[in-house]
Assembly symmetry: C2
Homo-oligomer: 95 residues x 2
């Protein structure tokens, strides 16, 4: 299992559109065979700070996800809404 924690800072004027697009992204990503879970969280202290926490079966599942239509069309739109650099970290479970 690989866990991804992907952080984005969304400009206030784009938050509504961001939430609409992420809803679609999340529904379609959860339907992928290699996905274990896919959730979106909002920072309690900084409402512009949104973080995806995703679990994938393996790197192959992530590679396939990155090639899907929903990823290649929605993620660039999300990036265009950001106010500062995004950050994504891939993790393996320790305990």
């Amino acid at each position: 299992m690989i866990k991804i924690v992907a952080e984005n800072y969304i400009k206030e004027e784009h938050q509504k559109e961001f939430l609409k697009l992420t809803k679609e992204l999340i529904i379609l990503s959860r339907e992928e065979a290699g996905n274990i879970s896919y959730h979106l969280y909002q920072d309690i202290q900084d409402p512009s700070h949104y973080t995806f926490v995703e679990e994938w079966q393996n790197q192959e599942a992530i590679d396939l996800h990155n090639q899907t239509k929903h990823f290649t069309t929605i993620v660039p739109q999300i990036k265009s809404f950001t106010s500062k650099p995004s950050r994504a970290v891939k993790y393996k479970e320790v305990q």
Copy 2:
């Protein structure tokens, strides 16, 4: 539910001790009534980068956790092992 993502960068010479202490911290934290889940992950690209992903029922559960003996004794030791500033973010679930 509140999700905490807490990142620590651990000096190489302290990794063994860090993993021993976190094992204890995780076991005892999972036993707390207000805890939903408590896991530790390691960055695949940077093995010194460890991140706790925790789920708590509410802020009261986090306040109680922060007062437990395992938290007040183990967390300062973990902080003494770090090579750069730690970071913790509290999130609410969006979708």
